[in-house]
Symmetry: none
Subunit: 194 residues, 4 copies
């Protein structure tokens, strides 16, 4: 038996990519720098990812999955829409602030890289639960009857902004807590029916 493709190595490449992408932006990052950072030979990268494009898509998916796992984990401990959304909001903001590198990388890729449609779809899937919750809430007249897609996009964009804001302030626990609160209040007050 020859050496087997090791998951460790794939992971190492992904991690290296995330690190250097965060530092220099992926447009400016040669694959050779990723290999070097991962501690492997230039050619080896391509046994794990057929092209640089594949690697970027995979980096994106990997991080999205990590986020989804985190956010969906405790979500059913809550029964109210407010509770569920608050949970998602808080965890996402906290994750973003605590993982600034990964956070930068997904937002960067998301906004300025032509991801494959397949990947886009896969990246959305895990968040379906949130949309379901929102729809139910609208149906009950709890939150206003705005198109859910707009609300989803809104929540996403506002969370990104909030993470960036906290990061710019220095990512202290106090700021995290403060803007988790402010951000969510604005969002909720903005959409709740009254």
């Amino acid at each position: 038996m020859a050496r087997q493709k090791v998951q460790d190595k794939e992971k190492a490449i992904l991690d290296a990519a995330i690190t250097v992408f965060a530092e220099r932006g992926f447009w400016d990052t040669p694959t050779s720098l990723i290999s070097k950072t991962a501690g492997i030979a230039d050619g080896t990268l391509f046994t794990y990812f057929k092209t640089k494009d594949d690697l970027i898509n995979e980096v994106y998916l990997e991080i999205k999955r990590e986020i989804a796992d985190l956010l969906m984990k405790g979500i059913n401990d809550y029964t109210t829409t407010h509770g569920k959304m608050r949970h998602v909001w808080n965890y996402y903001i906290a994750w973003g602030v605590r993982n600034p590198i990964k956070f930068n990388v997904i937002t960067q890729i998301g906004t300025s890289y032509p991801l494959s449609d397949e990947v886009k779809v896969q990246a959305m899937e895990p968040f379906a639960e949130i949309e379901r919750t929102a729809k139910a809430s609208i149906a009950q007249g709890e939150i206003q009857d705005y198109p859910v897609e707009y609300l989803a996009a809104l929540m996403d964009s506002q969370s990104v902004l909030t993470v960036r804001f906290i990061s710019a302030l220095g990512s202290s626990d106090a700021d995290l807590a403060k803007y988790q609160q402010i951000g969510f209040d604005i969002l909720w007050n903005g959409v709740v029916a009254r």
Copy 2:
């Protein structure tokens, strides 16, 4: 006369850059394509912009200035905070929907290009008036006492999202009007004191 010609050429380069950046993303756009689109020789571009980086920064500033001019123009026709903000909001959304090329270019540059600090500062300046308005409003207890910088960032991110949303729907006048309304309502309800 000669002066005129020169300014024309600079403008031509800037316009060409915006066009091709929108089409292919600026990371993927060689300066030679910009020159060609502008109808000038490859080398000439560099007598107007010392480096490609300078050009990108200038493109960004140029568009930001255009937006600022537009938004600030009629702002003092309104006396209330609500009126002023609504005016800014509506004009910005409409401008974005009607100028998708320029809109894409600034958001693209803004999120994935390392702009010089100087340019970032210059780009903010024209929007100072809005911040002043917001501060006054907070002082009067009209809108809640949240940090203005956060509010400014919020308004910005939400408007970008809204433009994108309308564009994705096809940019009809009806959608424009609808989401101008929804978006502003959510924003205002989110921050207003009650």
Copy 3:
């Protein structure tokens, strides 16, 4: 038994190489494709052929040997020079037309690959009988007194051309017969003493 297996594998590699060389030209054929076609692992190829160069040389020899076996087999059924040459000519042309893949591969290698001298010599050996026949014929005054090496080369080049010509026409039996005849007539009339 194990011996058998080994020989089978070497044969499998050679066959695979011929197939893919014919399809894509050997300059454009990675050894990995040969391994894959042969149903073995990349590394295994190199236990049978030390380098790609060795493999190419061996492919060449293998095919040359096959041709030699075929041509020399019935040659002594004929007693006249004309009969012997006609036999060789006809069989070679027919073999080339019926085995276009192998035919292409040897001509391709022969004209554009730097074969080792040793291989060149080995490839010639089996055709010695033909040269002997020609020499005898010259001695008897049957064919003209031209250097045999030139005659041998002539016969070779003309047969290659003839095979290619028939192949280009579609390799029908009628064309095969027709150009076997024409080609040989020209050749024989060209060299026969009168």
Copy 4:
């Protein structure tokens, strides 16, 4: 006015390519070696030839044109088919023997490179006159009624072989004269009606 593309430089690249192609075969020749040999920067090669493929096709055409010019020049000094063909034969053989490098390169490219159809057609054009002569001769019953395409191919392949043979012998004037004679005699006797 900027520096203009100089014909000298294009010529220098073509010459360099021919030289190194002859030495190592074009499959094994990196463009960087051609540039170096031509005394230009790596990138410059691509301002004259868009791709390596273009360069190879152009090298082929260039040499074919040179040959055509040479062969067609004095051809109409002769009135008989025999005279015309002899002229073409002699000049071609002599050119090949005196220009072994170029000669190797065209035969190499011709037999093992997938030339564009357009180039193949262009390369044939100048030799149309020869085919016309052959056809006329057949019509008069001077040479046998074999398909002209076959005859053309035959003449070509036999001349290549003859050049190679003379070259292998050392390219002396004596050998040149001797095999010009032998080769043509065989060819003519092979096809002439009797």
